[in-house]
């Protein structure tokens, strides 16, 4: 029951807000926050009680939800971040914004994520997974009057759905391979080539959702949504779902020889490349977005090297940190009207609370000791070292770059500038920040006993992170080039996939019109032509015969009419003639 409530309540409340939008305009924030509070409570209860429920859906494929260790961590994280983000939004969102739509979509989004992390089989997971994608579309395109934002939503949805196709493949392959209930736990036992198909599908879906290479570009586009959306989408939902799925299905990855290394390498490459992208951005939210890809890369690396606990720790620490950072950046955007790094000079000095909490989060993100991500990330790297030193070295390089993008951003916001006239930041929107900052700083210490860490590795990565931060403090210029443009994958996708597809579609439409339908029209025209021909030749000759017969009969008729004069004496005369003729005939015949 707890579990049905936990997942059903946000969905029901969200749907209700969307259905009666006008009536709930004023109370939407209250309903949203109340639902989030309930969700946190229920999540804690679920984490303690570890319930499992199921209900029939398709024959042999029920909807199944359950909370185990990993899910317990996830549901608490998701609902807490949801609460923080909604409280922030209540302070920040203008009065004439579409409140009901915003809170409704956010609740549906979080509800879908809650189902995703508690699903026990592929069909349940897939349902929630795709609904989450659709909600991300609606949230990114929230300000729909601007075509560009709507397009961003579309790109995000289509890219992630391109990955989602993998889950359909995985489900079909699992069924074909005999995993009848599609239970996540049983997937590793699917035999032979079907298992490879299942793994391939799962990996594709996870990489797409988590914006790993080569799908990263959609996350840059996702910035078009409101800041609270980014805060939720980048931390505990959506991108986290892919990492969660890989961590959840780590035994499946380990069951094939190729999946673990593939996932590990994609993860570490993303961590490195997108950290470099983050260094090159000139927009604070884009820095954070690229850093999300990079940090999620560490979780993916953890799944690939079998370090599930470390990956989950990284996920939680990153969720707290990244939601904090996006809310801080969003608050600055609201009061200063800009998210360009160059125009945010001195922002931290003018808004000390925002500045301090942002800095704590940023340093944790960089992996500076003793903050959370320093510990969790190092646990991931430690596992990577056991698998392959090359992975470890790449990971360390990513650590340096993480320090660099954080240092650069901090350099801007703490720069000394003459004070300017300022707007006040809303109190309500600042309430969640200290809590998130505390979580971002201290969670690591709580998690650390669960992790396997070694002191020299910790020292090394901490040193590298601090070096990165210090070196980059004075770095200013953003670059345009390939790095500034998120490696140019979006334009490449446009020219390699989207463009040709559209041309193919146009060509096929023309083909359909000219050739397929043309064939039908030609057949019809041939029929008509044959008919005309028949009409012209055969019909006319036939008609002529008919006309001739008609004329003949008419003539006969005329002949026959002639004796009919109506005069008695002529009839007598005719009768006499007739009788005479008859008599003559008789005589001749005899």
């Amino acid at each position: 029951m707890v579990l049905w409530l936990l997942t059903g309540l946000p969905l029901a409340a969200g749907a209700a807000l969307l259905l009666v939008r006008r009536a709930t305009h004023r109370v939407a924030p209250v309903i949203g926050i109340a639902t989030a509070v309930l969700a946190v409570t229920l999540a804690v209860l679920a984490a303690v009680g570890r319930p499992a429920v199921s209900a029939p859906l398709i024959e042999g494929l029920p909807v199944g939800l359950a909370v185990d260790g990993l899910s317990a961590v996830m549901v608490v994280t998701i609902s807490t971040v949801l609460l923080a983000v909604l409280v922030y939004a209540a302070g920040e969102f203008g009065r004439d914004e579409a409140h009901s739509r915003f809170y409704g979509l956010m609740l549906l989004f979080a509800g879908a994520m809650l189902i995703t992390v508690t699903a026990t089989n592929l069909v349940t997971l897939l349902m929630a997974w795709e609904v989450m994608g659709a909600m991300s579309y609606a949230l990114i395109a929230f300000w729909w009057r601007e075509t560009d934002r709507a397009t961003s939503g579309m790109i995000a949805f289509l890219t992630t759905r391109g990955g989602d196709v993998g889950l359909y493949l995985a489900a079909g392959a699992a069924l074909a391979g005999g995993a009848l209930g599609l239970d996540l736990a049983g997937l590793a036992g699917v035999p032979g080539v079907w298992r490879d198909a299942v793994v391939a599908g799962v990996v594709l879906a996870a990489l797409g959702k988590s914006a790993q290479l080569p799908f990263s570009f959609w996350l840059s586009r996702a910035m078009a949504g409101p800041s609270p959306v980014s805060a939720l989408l980048h931390s505990a939902t959506m991108v986290a779902a892919g990492a969660y799925l890989l961590l959840r299905l780590q035994p499946l990855l380990a069951a094939t020889p190729w999946a673990g290394p593939l996932v590990a390498w994609v993860g570490v490459l993303t961590a490195l490349a997108l950290a470099a992208v983050a260094v090159a951005q000139s927009d604070l939210k884009q820095v954070l977005a690229a850093s999300t890809c990079s940090q999620i890369g560490f979780m993916v690396l953890a799944a690939g090297t079998g370090a599930v606990t470390a990956g989950a720790g990284q996920l939680v620490a990153h969720a707290a940190t990244k939601s904090l950072l996006f809310l801080g950046a969003g608050a600055w955007l609201t009061v200063l009207g800009t998210k360009q790094l160059g125009e945010l000079r001195g922002a931290a000095r003018r808004y000390p609370l925002l500045g301090i909490t942002f800095t704590i989060g940023a340093l944790s993100l960089a992996g500076v000791p003793p903050l959370s991500i320093w510990l969790t990330k190092d646990a991931v790297l430690s596992a990577a070292l056991h698998t392959s030193p090359a992975l470890y070295v790449m990971g360390l390089a990513a650590v340096v770059l993480s320090g660099a993008y954080v240092g650069r951003a901090l350099g801007f916001v703490w720069a000394r500038t003459p004070d300017r006239a300022e707007n006040r930041a809303s109190v309500l929107s600042q309430v969640p920040l200290p809590f998130l900052a505390a979580a971002s700083a201290l969670l690591g210490v709580v998690i650390a006993p669960q992790l396997s860490l070694s002191w020299w590795e910790l020292g090394l990565s901490g040193l590298l992170a601090v070096t990165g931060v210090l070196v980059a403090l004075r770095m200013r210029a953003g670059t345009r080039g390939l790095l500034g443009n998120w490696l140019g994958i979006e334009s490449m996708t446009r020219s390699v996939i989207v463009g040709p597809t559209l041309s193919l579609a146009t060509a096929l439409a023309r083909f359909d019109d000219k050739v397929v339908d043309g064939g039908v029209r030609a057949a019809a025209a041939t029929g008509a032509a044959v008919a005309r021909l028949t009409n012209a030749r055969l019909e006319i000759s036939l008609d002529a015969v008919v006309g001739w017969v008609a004329r003949g009969s008419r003539a006969l008729g005329r002949w026959a009419r002639r004796p009919q004069t109506g005069q008695l004496h002529q009839y007598y005369a005719q009768a006499v003639v007739g009788l005479v003729v008859l008599a003559v005939l008789l005589m001749i015949v005899r």
């Binding site: 897939l126 729909w144 074909a176």
Partner: protein, 496 residues
């Protein structure tokens, strides 16, 4: 009982035409009352549904044309009951939707009531001649709807529709006669034919009958390359006519595959199953891509029907590939196919009615003429968004339940084709989002001054269709419990 459900609408139609000088008001309410009562009767059928040993409920079997042993044989099972219910729902929605119409309303209502009887009759017919009569009458009825109440080029489109699908029905008749002659004793009874499977092991004759029936149903469905009658018919038909054409009439083709071809020609079906898989996949991809290139909203939806019907062919074809799949997978595929028929009826019905709303506001279906309508017509935008996401197979809507079953059930037997068909859901997602964005998002643009929101009448007609799609999407058991036993029977029959 079944006969009452079938013939109630046409009886009301006769009354409508017989009584002179009825007011439009009376006609409207009579029409709605007739369809509503019919729906209530169908709900009654559903509640009391308990199939007998042969799998059928409410069976009626009386002699009709004994000289050719064709009987008046009706009955419903898990394949037909959902379609009967769909028919009743859609005709009620169309009656409500036409509440504000006044153009020759009496004949319009009578024609729709006549069509309703024809459609219901087809789905419950268990005799090939009866089936054929209803099949042909549906073409006649729809011809008059398009030609009489359509847009500018309606006459031409209606003629094309009529001739093309009529040609299909002739192929069908040939196939039926082939089955009749092959059976001993000769019969047109579908149940008896399924029991005999008369053409088993007769290479050429079986193939010939399969081709005749296949072409007949493929034209009606329609699948590539027999689909080109569909777009003009839809673009020219009135909205309610399009909803019925796409929602109910297309199902006659796909229903024919599961009702007649698979059980009656099991061995031939198995041999040529891969052909149907192939035609299905081509329809999925081709339909989606051509749809992506359309600028006309209604034409675009018409092509998505080709795409959605392709999934059904993929599933029924995959269910015929017995060697490489489990019976459970094949059952899931057939259940998915039947679910898809219901789901497509509801969702595409709603989409066509919504396109009618668009046309009524702006007098054009050109998507480029519109923009940003979400501002002045938020409910219209919301409903269209729901219908669009439902149509692109989002979980939570019936389309997902259908397509998920089709995919998972087909992958084992036809892996390559199914993987290719996955791309279909990606392209449909792209085309619906693009269309939605063009019409409803961005800066405001409209051919007329101000585009008003959905009216109450339109809402009452359209909302239940989408609501039904959501209910099936979230709580599908009530539907699947009816379909699953029937698909098990079909799979067993095909597997003989």
């Amino acid at each position: 009982m079944l006969s009452a459900v079938v013939f109630l609408p046409v009886a009301v139609a006769v009354v409508l035409l017989a009584v002179p000088r009825t007011s439009d008001r009376l006609v409207r309410w009579l029409w709605i009352a007739a369809t509503a009562i019919d729906l209530a009767l169908v709900v009654g059928l559903w509640i009391g549904y308990s199939p007998g040993p042969g799998g059928f409920a409410y069976e009626v079997n009386v002699k009709w044309i004994p000289s050719i042993s064709s009987g008046y044989h009706l009955g419903v099972d898990g394949l037909s009951l959902p379609l009967v219910a769909l028919t009743a729902v859609l005709f009620l929605a169309c009656a409500v939707y036409s509440f504000r119409d006044s153009d020759r309303l009496r004949s319009y209502a009578a024609l729709f009531l006549f069509l309703q009887t024809v459609c219901l009759g087809l789905f419950v017919a268990l005799d090939l001649i009866l089936f054929f009569v209803f099949f042909d009458l549906s073409i006649v009825g729809m011809y008059f709807v398009i030609a009489g109440w359509g847009h500018r080029n309606a006459a031409k489109a209606a003629l094309k529709f009529f001739l093309y699908t009529f040609l299909g029905s002739l192929a069908l008749l040939l196939g039926f006669i082939g089955l009749y002659l092959a059976a001993t004793p000769h019969t047109f009874d579908i149940v008896e034919l399924a029991r005999q499977a008369p053409l088993t092991g007769t290479g050429f004759a079986g193939a010939a009958v399969l081709i005749a029936l296949g072409i007949g149903f493929a034209i009606k469905t329609p699948t590539v390359p027999f689909h080109t009658w569909l777009p003009p018919a839809h673009t020219e038909a009135p909205a309610a006519g399009s909803a019925i054409l796409a929602g109910v009439l297309l199902k006659m083709g796909t229903y024919g595959f599961v009702r007649i071809m698979m059980p009656v020609l099991p061995d031939t079906w198995r041999r040529y199953a891969i052909v149907f898989v192939f035609v299905g996949v081509v329809s999925v991809i081709y339909g989606a891509l051509v749809s992506l290139a359309q600028r006309d909203f209604k034409r675009m939806i018409a092509y998505t029907s080709v795409n959605h019907m392709g999934y059904i062919l993929l599933a029924v074809g995959a269910a015929g590939i017995v060697a490489s799949s489990t019976a459970q997978a094949r059952e899931i595929a057939v259940t998915g196919a039947v679910t898809q028929m219901v789901s497509h009826g509801l969702i595409t019905g709603a989409l066509f009615l919504l396109s009618g709303v668009l046309y009524q506001r702006g007098q054009t279906y050109e998507m480029d003429s519109y923009g940003g309508l979400a501002g002045t017509a938020p409910r219209f935008a919301g409903l269209t968004a729901l219908a669009a996401f439902a149509s692109l197979g989002l979980p939570g809507f019936s389309g997902f339940i259908a397509e998920f079953q089709i995919f998972t059930g087909s992958l084992g037997s036809a892996p390559v084709s199914t993987v290719v068909a996955f791309l279909g859901i990606l392209v449909t997602a792209a085309l619906f989002l693009r269309a939605f964005q063009k019409i409803f998002l961005g800066p405001y643009r409209a051919p007329t001054d101000r585009v008003g929101d959905i009216t109450v009448v339109e809402g009452v007609a359209i909302v239940p269709l989408i609501a039904a799609a959501v209910v099936i999407g979230i709580f599908p058991r009530f539907l699947l419990e009816v379909i699953e036993p029937a698909s098990r029977i079909v799979v067993t029959l095909v597997g003989r």
